[in-house]
């Protein structure tokens, strides 16, 4: 899924907007900050699954062989990660704006916008890094979308828990000195998954 498949990018965005709209129909306005934050990240999580799932499953066999002869597997996986990362970042920021617009901002009293933006950025980076490798594994099996969820959810949970706590603190306006440990944890998890993907991906690629 790249620029050649604009409809695919469009479908991911539509998916997010539709989910937010469903949430809006269900909740109207959310006044509880914890709910506001958790619902946002759940929507993002499933959208991220959807987006990164396409990065391998929609490649035709012909193009895979073409890439295989052209580039090293490390280059391929890094490229896919960067692409997913950029895509998810755009998606996360746009959907944060739509989400706040639809579901109201009464829940947020003194949000630390800078810290929340950092949470969005690090969250998108972490999610895209972890899910790229999972998507690569899932795309090689037979029933891949359900397998992607089964494989991905337990692995993504540590990252998601740190992320939800970090962004909740940011929205609560808790001081940066307290909250920065979560940012470092997120960064460490992202770097860890980047390194592991770099090492492990070549074994998935050779066929």
């Amino acid at each position: 899924m790249e620029w050649r498949q604009r409809h695919a990018i469009g479908s991911v965005f539509l998916y997010v907007v539709a989910s937010i709209f469903v949430a809006y129909m269900g909740f109207r306005q959310i006044v509880n900050l914890a709910t506001w934050n958790a619902l946002f990240w759940i929507i993002i999580l499933f959208a991220a699954f959807n987006a990164s799932f396409r990065s391998f499953s929609q490649e035709s066999t012909g193009r895979k062989i073409y890439l295989f002869t052209l580039a090293s597997p490390q280059a391929v996986v890094i490229a896919k990660m960067i692409y997913n990362c950029v895509l998810l970042n755009t998606m996360v920021f746009i959907s944060a704006v739509i989400y706040a617009f639809m579901l109201g901002t009464q829940a947020l009293e003194s949000p630390d916008i800078m810290a929340f933006s950092l949470a969005l950025f690090l969250g998108a980076v972490g999610l895209s890094f972890v899910l790229t490798l999972i998507a690569a594994i899932a795309s090689q099996s037979d029933n891949n979308l359900s397998l992607m969820a089964i494989l991905g959810l337990p692995v993504i949970l540590p990252l998601l828990l740190v992320l939800i706590r970090f962004s909740k603190n940011a929205l609560d306006g808790i001081a940066w000195s307290v909250n920065s440990t979560y940012a470092w944890q997120l960064l460490a998890l992202s770097v860890l998954s980047l390194a592991l993907s770099y090492i492990l991906f070549p074994y998935l690629w050779r066929e």
């Binding site: 594994i137 090689q140 099996s141 029933n143 337990p154 998890l189 492990l200």
Partner: protein, 344 residues
Amino acid sequence: MTHYWWKILSAILVVLAVVVGLKTPLSPGIPSTSPDRLNNGVTSVKITGYNTHFTEARESVSIWIENGDSRYCPYEVNVVSDTEIRATFSITGQIQEAFFDLYVANAIDGTLYLPSAFLQDGLEVVSDPNKTASCEISPQKGDESFNFPNQPILNETIRNLLYHVPSWFAMIFIMLISLIRSIQYLSGGNLVKDMGASAAAEVGLIFAFIGLATGSIWARFTWGAWWVNDPRLNGAAVAVLIYLAYFVLKSSVNDDAKAARLGAVYNIFAFVMMLVFVMVLPRMTDSLHPGVGGNPAFSQYDLDDNMRLVFYPAVLGWIGVSYWMYDIRERMSKLTFKKMALNE
């Protein structure tokens, strides 16, 4: 015979740990008092002992409570049974702390101690009281026998330490073997290595379930619920989910070599993530679980020498038995593999 020694040893150790762990009595202790408040004036309280010998050591029973620098003795003590004493205290005026610590001594059980046994009720708590009380006490050294420590809240469930903790140690050990086999497979091993990885994951999952079950029972009787929302517990649940997902992945791919490759990659990735979740993250947040979030682990405060004497052999035994199980499982899959190769 020389090859089997560790199997026999670990089997013996596990059986010994189970028998000794269940048979050893708890040391005498005071689980509760009623009422748990001391009024301004005269209060009569019932002190309940556990595994104590109050009637047998009736002559030597002495009781006192401490509060800050003050010490109070009851003016009336009545030994009702081996496990029950009624005592009457008279306390008035200013005291230093809100809680009283209780001491009960006798010649057989030694000096028993219950911290914060009573809460004050109607007394005046000041940091610098105008008087301190004192009275004669007689601490005793009891009969030494082999027993487990009697901790408040934990009580008899302290034995679970000998089953719950070693099962998680065994699980981590076996999952480590699974990881090593997966790495060996990816770096040019044959399918047998991957079979070892799955065999180890299967055995590890059994120990994870044992750990979850014993932990759940323990949580019920100490924290009051079968499951509590706690980083360490969630980590354990996720670890189980990860390995279940590993088996789903392996069974969903028809081509053996491909399934082995995908499984090995996922195994390595998932193990690292699991380690982060189970070992690293809980230490950074608050948790009820010992050894996490600033809570001291057992070994640091209440694992006494008798407990150690059973605990370390139990850990060795469980790890040995888990390796033995893995060994059998791996040999089984190797034989099935050979049989299939012969049939073709």
